[in-house]
């Protein structure tokens, strides 16, 4: 094992191309240079995160942070969240939920399932950009725990 922690990859699961682009732009503006890996649907994201066999072994030694949209064409973000948090190898991976609704029950549900942060995509672009930039600052100081 190397002493230097591996750089954290940002895994963005977002079906809306525009949203993905805006999020990426604002993260970059905040000075975050980590690699951003984008997925447009739930299936490919799960395949990547848990590996093709779904065991989660693929995630070992690959620190990452998940930006998750709840509204996906093939499954709900909640399903992905639940599977990540149920897998032994991925359950410590931080998940930031990004969605358009501010439904209290939905937010509650995400936190219950183990989401670390919940961010509403507001229509007020300034506050959205701010939130993303702050998220970038947060990412730059955050330590991603990893099992040896």
């Amino acid at each position: 094992m190397s002493k230097e922690p591996k750089p954290v990859a940002i895994i963005m699961i977002e079906d809306d191309e525009g949203h993905a682009r805006l999020i990426e732009k604002n993260i970059r503006r905040a000075g975050v240079t980590n690699e951003i890996i984008s997925f447009r649907n739930g299936t490919s994201a799960i395949n990547y995160l848990l590996g093709a066999d779904g065991s989660g072994l693929a995630a070992v030694g690959r620190p990452s942070l998940v930006l998750l949209d709840l509204n996906l064409p093939d499954m709900t973000g909640i399903d992905i969240l639940a599977r990540l948090k149920a897998n032994e190898h991925t359950r410590r991976t931080p998940v930031i939920v990004l969605t358009t609704t501010d439904d209290a029950r939905e937010i509650q549900r995400c936190y219950d399932l183990g989401a670390n942060v919940y961010i509403t995509k507001p229509l007020n672009y300034e506050s959205f950009a701010n939130a993303i930039r702050q998220l970038g600052l947060f990412l730059s100081v955050m330590q991603i725990p990893e099992l040896d």
């Binding site: 525009g18 949203h19 805006l22 358009t100 229509l123 672009y125 959205f128």
Partner: protein, 502 residues
Amino acid sequence: MLRSGSGRFVGYNLLLLAGGVIVLLMIVSAAFMFSARSQLHATESLRAARVDRLVLEFISDLADAETAQRGFIITNREAYLGPYEMALAQFAKNSADLRLRAAEVDEGKAIAPEPVEELIRLGQARMDLIGKNLAGFRAGNFDPAQLADTMDRGRVLMDQVRQKGAVIRDTAASVRIARAAAMRDAASLLTTMISLGVAMIVVLTTGAALAMARHVREIDQARRELVDINQDLESRVRERTEAVMRTNDELQRYAYIVSHDLRAPLVNIMGFTSELESATERLTTYVRKVGGDDDDPERADALVAVDEDIPEALGFIHSSMKRMDSLINEILKLSRAGRRVLEPVPLDMQGLVTECIDSIRQRFAEAGAEVRIEGRLPDVVSDRSALQQIFTNLLDNATKYLKDERPGQITVRGRLERGSAVFEIEDNGRGIAEADFERIFELFRRAGTQDKPGEGIGLAHTRMLSRRLGGDVSVRSDGESGTTFIVTIARDLVLRMGRNET
């Protein structure tokens, strides 16, 4: 159906009652008639008996006188003449009696006066003969031959008296027999009539009992039909309610999805508009900085574009975005309220409405309006929060659209109607035109002068909630002197939701 059956029943019963009364009257009058005739028969019978007795006495007196005469002649003692004297004294009275009483029998029709007179005449002759004999004997001119002759005449007379007496007694006896027979006939007639009457009453009573039994059966049948109809109606109401609730649920889901999915592209438009803005700023700065020939028409155009056209366009895009965002938010809010699981509990409506009034008391004070609850509001089993929103919305509306020239009066009243509770919120405000009665309940629609803030969501919300509570909301207004909102909800939501929701 029941009504006509009942009419027929009353008709039957009146008929039977009348029949019964007639039969009873017949029996009673027959009894009276029998009694009167019996009395007459008895009287006549007694009179005939008296005549019989008088005839016997008459004969017996004559016999007494004869016996006395014989005793006196044999013994020549005055003592034997006692019975004669008595018989002589009785004779006249008996004769008069006999004449009178015989004439009384059957008003003189039964016993003719002739035989009676004949009897009396014969008796008198006998009496006279005895008197003459005694007088002669006393005088001492006792001639056995003459005596024997008078004795013979006496015996002949006496035989004639007995014969006549027997004739009269036979007549009297035949009167008594005839009367007795008449009485027997009358009695048997009465018995027959009573039996007939009893039979008729039995028939009438049976008829009445049958009519009553049939009527009871009809009532029972009608009651069962009514129960069936009621059950049918109830199940239909429940089906309809379920259908309305299902439609409502679908609309809510639809609204949720639409609002949710509408926001996603909006985020992009908003985000990239901002990107465009910041890019424009950089461009503007550059265009200004670059400078150049002020007469260059292309440069002037570019300046107009960056100074006016682009900011104006962005401004409109922003304000439209904002408007769309707030509309979507309202739909989302409505859809969320519609998706909330209802919790029916027993509610004290008087208390609940009072709380609603208290919660916006400040608004009433500002509007100078007076609000009161008229009578007692009926209690229901329903969802507290939904009802609070309904009443707060409607009360708030009432204060919002009051007429400036008159002090506001808001009245809340309620009543029960079958399985529903009906509440009315009446104000004396500006009213609503009839053309707008349905429109005001639609989302984002408003009526009248648009001088008050609002999104046009309150009444849509109220309608959605009332429907979810198993009812609806409607409006009544003449368009100028006030408005009444009528909220109908299920009296017991648990009951109304039935089996489809627990």
